[in-house]
């Protein structure tokens, strides 16, 4: 069992939890993910690691309540335990000195971006961060990421903070001003696609972190397969980060909607109870 040591409500639908998982914390690196299962009847869901503390043996997860499992998870409190919590899974981010890097985070994708921002900064890069959200109240980890960045920008759909519009607008301005060596983008699939389309024009190396549906997370089921450069890759063992210019985003979007109907049914039933 894996105890919840801390819980923060970041917005109505976004929660942060610190989970006691010393073995996972000992090995965790930026870019990797965990798989958890709440109870015996639960499904296995992947969540990218938002932070880790090797000394305290904790992993931080930040999640958006979108389906039955994440809603159930969000309803748990400090002192409650999860049945399973396994990781760290996937390959770590390739952290090294690139020069000038731009880290783009959208929505709940900002959470896994945070450890990468920190690591890239520590590796000696000039880090420019751009965070995007629908509205100001949904912005995550603003202070934390700002503190680890050399330049920092915000874009909101409604203009409640920073630039009114998309992160890609800000990215365009940054590209106009700087010689960018690498872009790291994590967020909604459509955001990663737009960012990749933009950087392709400038031939800027771009990495994206994908979040397909998974079951085992160890390369066994192939449920998380994505098409990268025309080849089938498993996000759980070959990723979750891939060359953003080569990902088939359309297919990923379709595959992530595979169980929308069932998810709705499970949520309705859970609400009734």
């Amino acid at each position: 069992m894996y105890q919840i040591l801390e819980k923060k409500v970041l917005s109505e639908t976004v929660k942060l939890m610190k989970i006691k998982a010393p073995l996972v914390a000992k090995k965790a690196q930026p870019g990797q993910f965990i798989i958890l299962r709440i109870d015996e009847k639960g499904e296995r869901i992947p969540l990218t690691i938002a932070d880790f503390d090797r000394k305290k043996g904790t992993i931080t997860i930040i999640f958006l309540e979108v389906g039955k499992t994440t809603k159930q998870l969000g309803a748990l409190n400090v002192g409650d335990s999860l049945e399973n919590f396994v990781g760290p899974l996937g390959l770590p981010s390739e952290v090294k000195k690139y020069g000038t890097v731009v880290c783009v985070g959208g929505g709940v994708g900002i959470a896994p971006l945070y450890p990468i921002v920190k690591a890239l900064k520590e590796a000696g890069n000039y880090v420019i961060s751009i965070l995007g959200a629908k509205t100001e109240s949904l912005l995550l980890l603003e202070k934390e990421i700002h503190g680890s960045s050399d330049e920092f920008y915000i874009a909101t759909d409604d203009g409640s903070k920073g630039h009114k519009g998309f992160v890609s607008d800000v990215l365009q301005q940054v590209i106009n001003k700087h010689k960018v060596d690498m872009v790291m983008a994590i967020g909604p699939i459509i955001m990663m696609k737009v960012v990749s389309d933009l950087t392709r024009k400038y031939n800027i190396k771009t990495l994206v972190s994908l979040n397909p549906i998974m079951v085992d997370g160890t390369g066994m089921c192939g449920g998380c397969r994505v098409s990268v450069d025309g080849k089938t890759k498993f996000a759980c063992v070959d990723g979750p980060e891939f060359d953003g210019h080569k990902v088939d985003y359309e297919n990923l979007m379709l595959r992530n909607r595979r169980f929308m109907h069932e998810e709705g049914e499970a949520c309705r039933l859970a609400d009734v109870q």
Partner: protein, 461 residues
Amino acid sequence: MSVRKTKHEMPEQLPKERIKNFKEVPLGYSKEIAIDEAKRCLQCKNKLCTKGCPVEIDIPAFINCIALGNFDKAADVIKAKNNLPAVSGRVCPYENQCEGECTLKKIGEPVGIGRLERFIADYEREKGAKIPKKPESLDKKIAVVGAGPAGLTCAGDLAKMGYSVTVFEALHAPGGVLMYGIPEFRLPKKIVEAEVDYISKLGVEIKYDVVVGKTITVDELLQEYDAIFIGTGAGLPEWLNIPGENLDGVYSANEFLTRVNLMKAYEFPKHDTPIKIGKRVVTIGAGNVAMDCARTALRLGAKESFIIYRRTKEEAPARKEEVHHAEEEGVKFFFLAAPTRFFGDEHGKINGMEYIQMKLGEPDESGRRRPVPIPNSESIMQIDVAVVAIGQSPNPLIPRTVNGLKLGKHGNIITDEDGRTSIPGLFAGGDIATGAATVILAMGAGKRAARAIDQYIKSKK
């Protein structure tokens, strides 16, 4: 006294009933039938049957005990060699092993050795398995990676020798393929749990949620343990590599079966993991796994379940019994045909498959005749779900993360007969070494490796 020429049949659930439930299909022998079947055994001195058994059970001895009505003694004889008899008594291809060697085959059908093994295992389990007295502790620690058939067998044997054994399992449940792969109606999960419980009572500790290669590395384990056995299986699904394979509704056999067996999707929404099934399901391949998928599809409510295979029924790698069960349940077979592409609707969901007729050409390296497509023989069929069950490769997680480990061209770990790898103290066996094979061969490999580990440790003193 003349010997009965045929095996006693095992009662089974009727096909039209059983396709509506996930309960076990064969129901097992009664005591009377078991004794009668056991009396067919000629008690040959040369024990050809035992030579055909990968885990070396003294078969005539346990059958003799049954014939004499001494079921407890029969259980002792089996358990002396086999830690998981209720499993092997259900999923072993006996016809190619013990029963294949049986002298009675000269005049008729062999003794129903598999059915008798199952009978005794069930008898003992219902009574509560006897736990052998703990041997004196050798004060040596062994790590076993993977709680599947190879790992559990190796762990059980080592515990019986007095080693302190810890098994590391990536998933949340033990059993490996016994749990995620083989369906409930062929191997009830309660039985797997009982067999694992026996292994635990031998003193083996199982740690879940540990992915060796990620959570902890083999190199770290080598520092803490005196020896390591790797039995991580053939977990990586193979694909057809044809257009449309990533559409919604195309599953690997592993995903399909894992959702249903391990995650209990057939009880959705009581259990949280869903599966989509539709009316027409096609499974590609004709091994045991393919039969499992096609039969599972029927139980999930598919109106029609098809199997498409590029060779003929003769070459199908599945056990005859499994093909027979599938046919009885109404699975329709397309032999000498292979998919060439999948079609999807505007939402990216599969709705059709194009396939081509094949003919058999010259034998290939496996000795089977190679299937060759017949030009311009394509047809299209409407389908809602496709399951790709054409084989698995060794799981790459460990091979990728151990320096200096010698690997084969398919990413399998190279070992000698007894599971020794290129690294001293590191042993491997089962599908991770051989590529996808059977449960019993994995168990045999685990058994031989346990002996080799014992030798290795004693030689170090």
